[in-house]
Amino acid sequence: MARVKFLCDADRCIECNACVTACKNEHDVPWGINRRRVITLRDGRPGERSVSMACMHCTEAPCAAVCPVDCFYTTADAIVLHSKELCIGCGYCFYACPFGAPQYPRLGNFGSRGKMDKCTYCAGGPLPASTEAEYRNYGRNRIAEGKLPLCAEMCSTKSLLAGDGEVIAQIYKERVLQRGYGSGAWGWQTAYRETIVT
């Protein structure tokens, strides 16, 4: 089984936000919830850079570790998923997540967050694959259809890569070799405790 990962080649991201839009549309994500977003660092200053970020599906995922009801599970592909049935909306996963991935339908005052929602790597949830119930709760299950996450699939500059971690790391290495520069795999050290040596 592959260990899937996300990799955003920040030298290619043009902040078009199409990954964000594709994700919202594919999974019918409600208002106020962003499973993926593009963050611009040093906006408007020399050295500006944009990075698309969602759940990184971490190794030893902090969200899963701190969850008081153990509602997370990891698939054979190392995708980190959770059960909304079990989630109690305590918010701990957001405090633990290095990438701000967990989202909640409500503001959260007096513990009123509601069930957590996050990027599923387009792999649905614990309900039967590709059912109406799974779609309503977790979004489309593209992995069950043999497809990769839509955000990366339709990225116009192929900045966002998704798939087997070894394969996308190789693609990135070759890119860096060819063009002569690369800013590294953003977030990988924190998420996977390793980075791509180029």
């Binding site: 920040a10 030298d11 936000n17 106020g32 962003n34 977003r37 593009v38 963050i39 611009t40 660092l41 040093r42 906006d43 020399p46 050295g47 500006e48 850079r49 990075v51 970020m53 902090p62 570790a65 701190v66 969850c67 008081p68 009801v69 153990d70 509602c71 059960s83 049935e85 079990l86 989630c87 109690i88 909306g89 305590c90 918010g91 701990y92 957001f94 405090y95 633990a96 997540c97 290095p98 990438f99 701000g100 503001l107 959260g108 005052n109 007096f110 513990g111 967050r113 060819q178 063009r179 002569g180 520069y181 800013s183 590294g184 953003w186 977030g187 050290q189 924190t190």
Partner: protein, 342 residues
């Protein structure tokens, strides 16, 4: 020359110049890259000035930028402090909590096995005196009941999945935890109110006085069996009072931060609030265990004080000689016949 022809000539010259010079300029850029970047086939590194992850992490410890969505929290790209929170929550807190709380329970058990119950220490006179009035008692029990609910539901956040989850399974445990969370949020309010009232009504009698140091030095006479003098509250009770007030303050402040997430602080502030909340909760639970022990099975006659509000006058004279002096002949307004528990 007429004006149109003159203009056409100028235009022609301009275009010729552009086409003649243009390719030369481009050629120049391609053929002679700046010194020091020989390894790069496409020329200079266009991202040479761009920020890198390690730079930013060294600068402020996290990566923060700008997003086009209203949710300001989403502007943080990476906060490695989440990993710190993870190891605090899963590696340190369960151990610290278990050692401190179980340690206190074991210490109390050992103390009980060695010393047994602390005796009444006087011959009951049958005459009683008011020690705690209605407000004091009501407030004590309101705070106590809230604290017990808060402690159990709070411990559930850390130990529930380790102890209860394997016994009852994921679904029942999630349902219980959901209700436990609601209870934790709701009972916080009577607890906070109780702490405020407690601080007001008992502050005066809990200020340090000249009896405290000798009392502490003789360990309250628990071991020797003597009764060092004390005011309305002895130094041990004062320590409980200040632990509850200061611990309650820390719990309330950090708890309010958590009840209104991100209203006052950012993600790292939320993590700190959890650290403060967890550590003060563990400490206060251990202290309150000792308080419950001494107030129930640990000492004969102690429970009645907070139950009925009245204590035997001889008990008061023995244990709190600076509050009710032994030579005080009569206390007409405050004494009376023993009344049944309210």
């Amino acid at each position: 020359m007429s004006a149109p022809i003159r203009m056409a000539t100028v235009l022609l010259i301009c275009l010729t110049t552009i086409f003649a010079v243009g390719p030369v300029g481009a050629q120049h850029g391609r053929d002679t890259p700046p010194a020091g970047v020989g390894a790069q086939p496409s020329g200079a590194d266009p991202t040479a000035e761009s920020v890198t992850e390690s730079e930013l992490l060294n600068e402020i410890g996290k990566l923060q930028g700008r997003v086009t969505i209203p949710d300001g929290k989403a502007a943080i790209l990476v906060q490695p402090q989440g990993r710190t929170y993870q190891s605090f929550h899963e590696r340190w807190l369960p151990w610290i909590g278990a050692v401190v709380i179980l340690g206190m329970a074991i210490a109390l058990a050992v103390f009980y096995l060695i010393n047994g119950r602390i005796p009444f220490g006087a011959r009951p006179s049958g005459r009683t005196i008011v020690r705690f009035n209605r407000l004091e008692r009501f407030n004590h029990w309101m705070t106590a009941a809230s604290f017990i609910v808060l402690a159990i539901t709070g411990l559930n956040y850390v130990f529930g999945k380790r102890l209860l989850f394997p016994l009852i399974g994921p679904d029942a445990f999630a349902t219980w935890s959901q209700w436990a969370k609601f209870a934790h949020n709701a009972f916080a309010f009577p607890f906070m109110l109780g702490i405020v009232i407690m601080a007001i009504v008992w502050l005066r009698d809990n200020l340090p006085d000249r009896y405290d140091w000798p009392w502490l030095r003789s360990f309250g006479g628990f071991v020797s069996g003597e009764h060092p003098p004390a005011g309305r509250f002895n130094a041990g009770q004062k320590l409980i009072f200040w632990s509850v007030v200061l611990g309650g303050l820390a719990l309330s402040a950090s708890g309010l931060v958590m009840l209104f997430p991100f209203a006052l602080v950012d993600i790292n502030g939320m993590q700190v609030a959890q650290y403060v909340h967890a550590f003060s909760a563990v400490a206060l639970i251990a202290i309150i265990l000792a308080h419950i022990y001494i107030g129930t099975i640990g000492m004969v006659g102690a429970f009645e004080a907070m139950e009925s509000g009245r204590v035997d006058i001889e008990w008061a004279r023995t244990h709190h000689s600076a509050w009710i002096p032994p030579d005080d002949p009569d206390l007409p307004e405050r004494t009376g016949a023993r009344v049944p528990a309210e």
